[in-house]
Amino acid sequence: MESTALATVPVVNMSAWALFMQADIIVKAVMIVLAGMSLWSWAIIFDKIFRLRSLFKQAEQFEEKFWSGQSLEDLFERVGQRPREPMATIFTAAMREWRRSSKGGVPVATGTAMLHERIDRVMKISLEREMDHLNRRMIFLASTASASPFLGLFGTVWGIMNTFTAIGASSDTSLATVAPGIAEALFATALGLVAAIPAVIFYNKISSDLSRYALRLENFAGEFGAILSRQLDVKSA
């Protein structure tokens, strides 16, 4: 007697874990994917922010050294064969090309214009390689920002479809039977937004920081190219 009375009572538990556990397998999968996307996008966000901060600091230090008045050969020796940051990499690439050309017996008179062009090209390639490296995984942030709300919405739609099927089967339309299913379905949309909002904000911030850094590298490459071409002209004259 009492067992029948108790059986009609739905156990309503609205905690996040309970909502997850009650959900349909597809909704569960959507939630897991969204949680993974949130985790990975935050990992990328933290990584990019830390790296950009240190890159700006290193660029500051390198430019200070570069403009301090010491000879380029000394700076090249100090930076060594394995530079630790993009600006030094560009510098090393240009210097290596310069040395190779001057040592390798390229006649100076014929080759100044060509050498200048070569150095520019080497620096440009080096810069693009570095920027490509820095831009890696930004596409994941962008697609998380745009796709995860849709994924969450899919989970919600699927969950609500299931809920309505269950209502149709039990022919009970009281709020107590409808509410848990809808709550669990909406939880998927909430997760999608939780993943998407930081991804959008930080994608904008990080990509603008990256383009600022790229501009700084380009400026450095241009200045360095100008210095080298001046020296070439001085040599050939």
């Binding site: 309503v12 935050w42 790296r51 490296h133 709020l175």
Partner: protein
Amino acid sequence: MLRDTPNTGLIASVALHASVIAVAWMGVPFLHKTVVETPPVFMEIPVISEVTAAPPPPTPEPIKEPEPVTPTTEQPPAAEAPPSDAMPPPPEKTSPPEEIKKAEVPIVKPPPRKPAPPDTKKRDVAMLQDLLKDMQKNAPKPKPQAESKTTDTAKNLAPTLGERATMTEKDAIVKHIESCWRIDPGTEGVANMAVEARVFLNPDGSVQKFEFVDMARYFVDAQFRTLANSARNAVLGCGKIPMITPANYATFKEMVLNFSPQGRIN
């Protein structure tokens, strides 16, 4: 040169998510700390064991009777035994010191009489008898003083105990509400159901707000609804609860009443 996997970022991200989940799980810490709430008083209606309700009434009586006659022997157990009903004793115990003072007054008076009437032997005999009476009164006097010390300690304890709901007050409120409770014993499964309700009171003892703890079941379960309505009618139809005083309002302003017909139907 440049790391391929964002290790530190991944660790930071895992830490962030773990903390967010922890906050979601346990609630935000230190947010509601400033609000100090007195916990609601939990009551069973009806009282399942009669033991809690029965003893308090007889205990005050033995305290009243022995005090004037022979306070030495029977008082200490009375003071030890019912620590729960610390509320009623203090007014009674405050009176004995006054009696002692009254008893002291006649002791001071006799000395002036002594030198005045050395007339007849009858008067001497009467005087001696008076003296004897005085002596008898004097004899128990030091013991009541010691007793008054114990009552003082009882008074010191009284406010701390009185702040909580005493069993007698609780039982009185429960009895009051129970007297208004009409249940239909024929309802299916009523013997195994229990309705929990949260009642907020006004300072004058009237009901400010009444709500069921399990609202979902109220909507779903018809038998439960019947029982719950009877419980609501009991509380709302009973009018003001006369036991609520300004002193104990703080403890009873929020009560959780558990209406279980089990104790009634058997």
